[in-house]
Amino acid sequence: MAATESYPVNLKYHREHDWARIEGGEAVFGITWKAQDMLGELVFFQPPVVGSTVAKDGVYGEVESVKAVSDLVAPLSGKVIAFNEKVQSEPESINADPYGEGWLVRVQLSDPGEAEALLDVEAYKQLLVEE
């Protein structure tokens, strides 16, 4: 079941429709409601290897719907410490709950200061209007 459109205020947003929830020196990444809505029902999640490093604005994995493939873009740099195994077996969790059950990876941040370059919720919503 698809979630209703929402953009939590406690997240930071990347213009490629990815989000980050910063928790101390770590962050959780996922894709926004808009991203899952554009893709449609998700059926596949290709996670990064745990222990690998991801760079801000770089591709760290893929999600696919029946019709389309999308790169996952890292909002921040760091080392992958976990990915969501439930999403790997049930990718539809991303559609149902993109900010909760549908989280994708947890990262140990290498440069928390990078977060300043991300969008806050108002700026991200403005981007959606402009697109």
Binding site: G40, V43, Q46, V66, K67
Partner: protein
């Protein structure tokens, strides 16, 4: 960008909340509630598709039969009025200009349904080659075409079962239509052709009977599970029917455009064949991905019924036996896929049906 055309059911699609996309010059629904649930509705019961973007051509008059017989691959002498036949329209090299279904209405009268993307080029191709006595009319814009597909489709419409590839005039929900036992999902069902102005009434009746509206997304996944080729992807002017496994629709004993070449390919055996495959690893094959080393996936998707990646593509003759392994390059990840018998999946048959038999024979 040229203005997109709308089918007579456009307003119905918007009212149902469809996600609309451009396809073959039309603004068409890709899904309503969700592709996967629509797909499963067709496999388990019934779904309705607006296929009004397809090209409807009427070919009538003296020479119509002989003319089509020389341009199309199958033997039209084998069908009587009220019967339909699958055809390839081939060029001089045996390449596939289009695939289509002819509906024989009379001795010299045919309805021809062609792919939306090829409608204009097909009209040109046919009008340049049909004898002068035969007339060709493109009646697409005057009609709607609604496909109702699935094991429960005919019962939902109150229609008696009839042999596939037959058609009759019927009245459904107060609308006169041609009801053909044809389709593009691998399931039983029908395709209904009615006057454009009656399309809404017919559509409303079909949905009120409990048939689920389905978009082009499910149409593509259903046809690929059933291993029905899509022109422009699996078959093209550069590929021939023999290599595509469509030799059954080619009457090589008769004369038609490109037949000499097709006889030669048939006699020699094609170098490549269109095979169906399922992925052995998580991953979804997509059109254009390499089948290592030098072939390509022509259609690929995620199978909603099998919950895994499936596809079709051309493979060398030594790789065409079921259970042969292929390597597919999925964006840099080389993944195993296994060749399987067609169809990959329909409600009545799927590729695992014959697995035991093949393994017993040691042919893997």
């Amino acid at each position: 960008m040229p203005e997109l055309k709308r089918t007579p059911l456009f307003d119905r699609h918007l009212a149902l909340g469809a996600r609309m996309v451009p396809f073959a010059g039309y603004e068409m629904p890709v899904f309503y509630d969700g592709l996967i649930s629509e797909h499963k509705a067709v496999r388990s019961d019934s779904g309705a598709f607006d296929a009004s973007h397809m090209g409807l051509l009427e070919v009538d008059g003296p020479g119509a039969h002989e003319g089509l017989q020389r341009l199309l691959s199958n033997d039209l002498d084998r069908i009587r009025p009220g019967h339909a036949q699958y055809e390839l329209m081939t060029n001089e090299q045996g390449g596939i200009v289009d695939d289509l279904i002819v509906y024989r209405r009379g001795a010299e009268s045919y309805l021809v349904i062609v792919n939306a993307s090829n409608r204009e080029s097909d009209v040109r191709w046919l009008s340049e080659r049909l004898p002068t006595g035969a007339s060709l009319r493109d009646v697409s814009d005057d009609h709607a075409l609604i496909a109702v597909q699935g094991p429960g489709a005919l019962a939902r419409l109150g229609l008696e079962p009839a042999p596939t590839f037959t058609f009759a005039e019927v009245e459904l929900f107060g609308v006169s239509c041609t009801c053909a036992r044809t389709g593009y999902t691998g399931e039983a069902g029908c395709e209904l052709i009615c006057a454009a102005e009656n399309a809404g009434k017919l559509w409303d009746g079909i949905l009120a009977a409990g048939v689920v509206p389905c978009g082009l997304g499910a149409r593509d996944t259903l046809r690929l599970e059933a291993c029905l080729p899509l022109h422009g992807q699996d078959i093209t002017p550069e590929t021939d029917p023999i290599s595509a496994g469509l030799g059954w629709a080619c009457a090589l004993a008769k004369e038609f455009t490109g037949v000499d070449r097709l006889r030669a390919i048939s006699a020699e055996g094609p170098a490549l064949r269109l095979v169906a495959f399922v992925m052995d690893h998580p991953g979804i094959p997509r059109q254009g991905m390499p089948i290592v080393p030098d072939c390509k996936v022509t259609s690929g998707t995620h199978s909603p019924m099998l919950d895994m990646g499936i596809g079709m593509g051309y493979a060398p003759a030594r790789k065409i036996e079921p259970w042969s392994m292929l390597t597919i390059d999925v964006r840099g990840r080389p993944l195993w896929a296994k060749v399987v018998p067609k169809p990959i999946y329909t409600s009545s048959r799927n590729y695992t049906d014959t697995q035991g038999e093949w393994l017993r024979r040691g042919r893997y």
